[in-house]
Each structure stands twice: as structure tokens, then as C-alpha cells.
Amino acid sequence: MDIRVIEALHTRYIRAIDDDQLEDWPGLFTENCLYKVVTRENFEQGLPLAVMECRSRGMLQDRVTGYRRINVFEPQRYSHQISGLTVESLDERTVKCRSNYLVVRTVVDGAMSLFSAGIYLDKVVIEPDGALFEERIVIPDSRRIETLLVLPL
């Protein structure tokens, strides 16, 4: 397994969110994917509640619709920093990955904050034309969300 395939997927993920190309984000996941943001507080206690939980690519698209058309929030951008990628093959075409992330959020008046830090636990399938997330579990270290979460982490 070439780790650069996973790194390329991470890069496309960051570009989709941080460059305000959120419409590209659902296409980085398989049709029957799972995307979940679970705070460390709930995760460590085995509590199933997620801050955001999409059980299909359609639900990811609905988050894009929420962001573009429905929800009210202060205009904002994220800057993702990703490090510490480890990759472990599960079978011929599936790998398990773990990495650390840091998201700096900048809102319209210029206020910047360290919005979220934590880990990604991923299952990635390797397709002939690239890799896709079958599962991405985001585990923020903090139990707190400042104001609201509208863009995915």
C-alpha cells in the first residue's frame, strides 16, 4: 500500500472544506459511508451520541445543502492541519488509518480561534482511480463546541 494514496485523499478532503468547495466533500466517501463527529467524552464512555452523524453519501450532501441554503451562522472558514498519519492494511482493498487534526476557525470579522483538535479514525477503500472514505470517525478532544458546528471537521 502506497501511503501517498491516503495522503492524497486527505489533501482532497482539506481542499473541499477549507477552500469552500464543500460540494466536492461527499464525493470523497463511498455511497454507504459513515461520517461521525463524536466527542471524546461520549466516545470514551461508549455513549453513541454524535454531534453530526451521516450514514450515507446522501446525508453528507444534505449537510452541504444545510450549509449553503438552510442554516444561519456567521460566515466562516476552516484551516485544517493534519499530522501523524498511520496506516494499517485490513485486507486487499481496505486500510485503517489514524491521524491527528487541528482546525483553526476564522469568522467574518477576522476573529480566529483554535476551534477543534482531535483525531481521525478512518476506514479507507482503495479503488482503481483513488481512495475513498468508507468510514471517518472524528473525535474532538474537547467536549465543547464553540457557538455551532456547520462545516464538517
Binding site: L49, V51, R69
Partner: protein, 413 residues
């Protein structure tokens, strides 16, 4: 009680249809609220009995600024204690919850039992016959500060007041019947959310009662017809408006009234790529699909479709509050219903399609009122001056006037 020579502010002559902006930002008013509301004659929601199931279980929370521990002792009795060592005032317990046989302060090892009694003081009798506490030092006089604490249908409330009536009569019949409606069988906690809002705690409490905003700000509600003012529903006020219920019945929707108004929240050309988000099960035979119960001062109990939650607002200074969400289901949920609740939880919480806006809107107000004059105030005239229950129309702010009635009577304003 804080003594004050002159009132903190003059309430506008219009009375209950105005709220001075100053109450949202003035540090002196915030200090008064701690005394007159949070240490005053109110019952504060603390946690669920389900969260402290066995002997030695505990949860920590806050009443206003004051940190509180709720414990269950070896005999099964529930205690609410101030989370503050009686020696130097250090916070005893930092965890959100867990299991303990006793609480020992890390600073000087003063130890308390689950009922808050001081059971040991390190080096109480000195070292090598020297030092130590005076001979007359009585452990019994130095326990943790205890609160009155009562439980209703598994919801635990606490108060610093010796004067406030028992919990059930404080809540009143329409609030207790709503709690019974949901807490009619054992519940199970599904998880927590914690949402920091950069606004005064009262802005969130107003918002939680505000039927007028719900279908205007929250476009998801309106667009996907989860809640509209053209459904059968109503507002129920209790205790002169201190507490309120706002409910609607999804199956009774009448079309019209929203279309063509230009209200942003009616988006006619969109749909969900995965509409399974809105699959729901009728769990209650009254047909109510959305219900928000607001209990004075800082507790909100909600049912939105099959999502069930308690929300508690923790004030953290005049311009900041933290919203604690506890989501639950029933112990006997079948797997399909449990899965449905968790999927629908995308509607609520800090990333909720419906409720994320409430984290932002209070901040918009807090920022908007900065620099307002001493006399500037909010206008609360929807539905006139009435503070009364209604069925049918919910185009009224009676529930908000009810909140301010309770607030003013406690604050003497």
C-alpha cells in the same frame, strides 16, 4: 442577600412589554442574579437519576456559578452538595461523573462521605504531639454545604432556598404532566453535548420559549414542515408564566400563510438527498411531534420527533453561557427506534439542522446591544400584553413575558 441603596435599574414604564438591554450585560446585575435567583427560591435542574444509578455514583453540575455534586449514597439516598472543600474552598471533584466511595480534597486531604459529611482531616491531631487542629474542632460542623434536593419522575432538582415550596408544586400541574408524559418508563442516556454561547444566559432562555422565532429563524423546521404556526398547537403557561410549554402536532398542518411571504425560512426548491433523516415513529398518543418545555430558571426539556433531551443553561459571566444537552432514549428501545433517535439527533445540538442557529442568534443580540443607552430595551408586544396560555395561534410572545415576570419578581425590578 446583596444590599442596595437604590434599584439596579429602572424598568421601563411600559412594564412587561419591554426588557432593558442592560440586564444582558451588566456585571452588577449578574452578581445579583447569583444571589436572588440561583441562591434564591427556585428549583434548579441538576441531573437524571439514571445518571447516578447505584451507590457511590455521582455527577457534577452547576447552579448559576456554583459548582455542585450530586451523589447517591450507600443507602440509595440522593444528595446535592456544593463542590467546594470546607477548608480552603478548592473544587473537590473535576470529573463530570463516575463512582466514588468518598471525596478527598487533593489540597490537604480533607475527606467527605457521599452525604457531604467531613469524615477526616489530615494531621487533625498534629505530628509528634505538635500542631493539629484545636481540640474543640468538630468535624460535624465542617461538612460540605448541602442543598435541598428533590427528585420528580427521575429528574433531580436542587435549591439553596429553605423557603421555596416543594418541587412538585413549584413545577405546577401542566409541567409535571408533561414530565410524566415523557418519563413514564426508565430512560437511558445516549450522550451529551456542550455548546458555548457568547451571550447572556437569559437570551437563551427567552429563545427556548419563543414560538415566534421558531419557524422564521429555523428554516429547516419550516421548509421540511416539522413545525409551522399553521399546525394545531399551543402555548401553556404555568406559575404566572415562569414555566412554559410550546407544542405542535405535525399531522395537522394546513398549507398557506408562509408561502409568498418572502420569509427566508420557506425554501421551496430544495429537498433532502437522504430523507430517511425525517423518518419517525409516533411514540405519544397525543399527536404532539414537537414540544419545548422551559422550566424557570435554566432548564429546557424537549421532544423534537423522537429526539428527547434535557438542556441546562449554565451562566458563565454576563456575556457567556454553556448549554449542556443530555440526550436520552428508553431502556426498552428496540434497535430500530434507537437508531432512529440517533439519526434524528442531527436535528439538534450544536450541529443540529434545527437548533444550531440558537447558538448563534444570542450572540448576534449580545453584540447588537453593546453600546446601547441605559434606557434602550427590547420590544415584546407580539400577542399584546397578555401572559396567558393559548391554543391554536402561537403568534405571541406571552411565554417570554412570563419569563420576565418571574425574573422581575425575584430581582425586585
Amino acid at each position: 442577600m446583596v444590599k442596595s441603596e437604590k434599584p439596579l435599574l429602572e424598568w421601563p414604564p411600559e412594564g412587561i412589554t419591554r426588557t432593558p438591554y442592560r440586564v444582558m450585560s451588566d456585571p452588577e446585575i449578574y452578581r445579583w442574579e447569583q444571589e436572588r435567583i440561583f441562591r434564591g427560591p427556585v428549583w434548579n435542574y441538576l441531573c437524571l437519576e439514571a445518571e447516578i444509578p447505584g451507590p457511590g455514583s455521582f455527577r457534577t453540575t452547576y447552579i448559576g456559578d456554583t459548582p455542585v455534586i450530586v451523589t447517591r449514597d450507600k443507602e440509595g439516598a440522593i444528595h446535592a452538595l456544593v463542590n467546594r472543600c470546607a477548608h480552603k474552598g478548592a473544587m473537590l471533584c473535576l470529573e463530570a461523573g463516575g463512582k466514588r466511595q468518598s471525596f478527598t480534597c487533593v489540597y490537604h486531604a480533607w475527606t467527605y462521605d457521599l452525604a457531604g459529611r467531613l469524615t477526616g482531616v489530615a494531621f487533625q491531631h498534629g505530628v509528634n504531639g505538635k500542631g493539629g487542629m484545636p481540640a474543640e474542632f468538630d468535624l460535624a460542623e465542617h461538612g460540605l454545604e448541602r442543598l435541598r434536593c428533590e427528585s420528580f419522575q427521575g429528574l433531580i432538582f436542587g435549591t439553596f432556598s429553605t423557603a421555596v415550596e416543594p418541587l412538585e408544586s413549584y413545577l405546577g400541574p401542566s409541567m409535571t404532566s408533561q414530565i410524566r408524559r415523557v418519563f413514564h418508563k426508565p430512560v437511558e442516556v445516549l450522550g451529551y453535548h456542550h455548546q458555548v454561547m457568547h451571550n447572556n444566559w437569559k437570551l437563551y432562555m427567552e429563545n427556548s420559549r419563543d414560538a415566534y422565532h421558531a419557524t422564521i429563524l429555523h428554516a429547516f423546521f419550516t421548509t421540511f414542515k416539522l413545525n409551522r404556526l399553521t399546525m394545531d398547537g399551543g402555548l401553556t403557561l404555568e406559575r404566572g408564566g415562569w414555566h412554559s410549554l410550546n407544542y405542535s402536532k405535525g399531522a395537522t398542518l394546513r398549507e398557506g400563510s408562509y408561502e409568498g411571504t418572502g420569509i427566508r425560512s420557506v425554501i421551496e426548491d430544495i429537498g433532502l438527498a437522504d430523507p430517511s433523516l425525517l423518518e419517525r415513529r409516533q411514540e405519544f398518543d397525543d399527536g404532539v411531534t414537537v414540544l419545548i418545555q422551559s422550566i424557570f430558571p435554566t432548564c429546557v426539556h424537549q421532544q423534537i420527533y423522537n429526539t428527547l433531551a434535557l438542556r441546562q443553561v449554565v451562566p458563565q459571566g454576563p456575556g457567556r453561557a454553556e448549554l449542556h444537552w443530555t440526550l436520552f432514549g428508553y431502556k426498552d428501545d428496540d434497535p430500530a427506534l434507537r437508531s432512529m433517535r440517533l439519526k434524528q439527533s442531527n436535528l439538534i445540538g450544536p450541529a443540529g439542522f434545527v437548533s444550531m442557529e440558537d447558538g448563534a442568534i444570542g450572540e448576534y443580540v449580545q453584540r447588537g446591544i453593546a453600546g446601547a443607552g441605559m434606557d434602550a430595551s427590547a420590544v415584546i408586544e407580539m400577542g399584546g400584553r397578555e401572559i396567558a396560555s393559548t391554543t391554536g395561534s402561537r403568534a405571541t410572545e406571552a411565554t417570554i413575558r412570563g419569563f420576565w415576570t418571574g425574573y422581575r419578581s425575584l430581582m425586585g425590578l
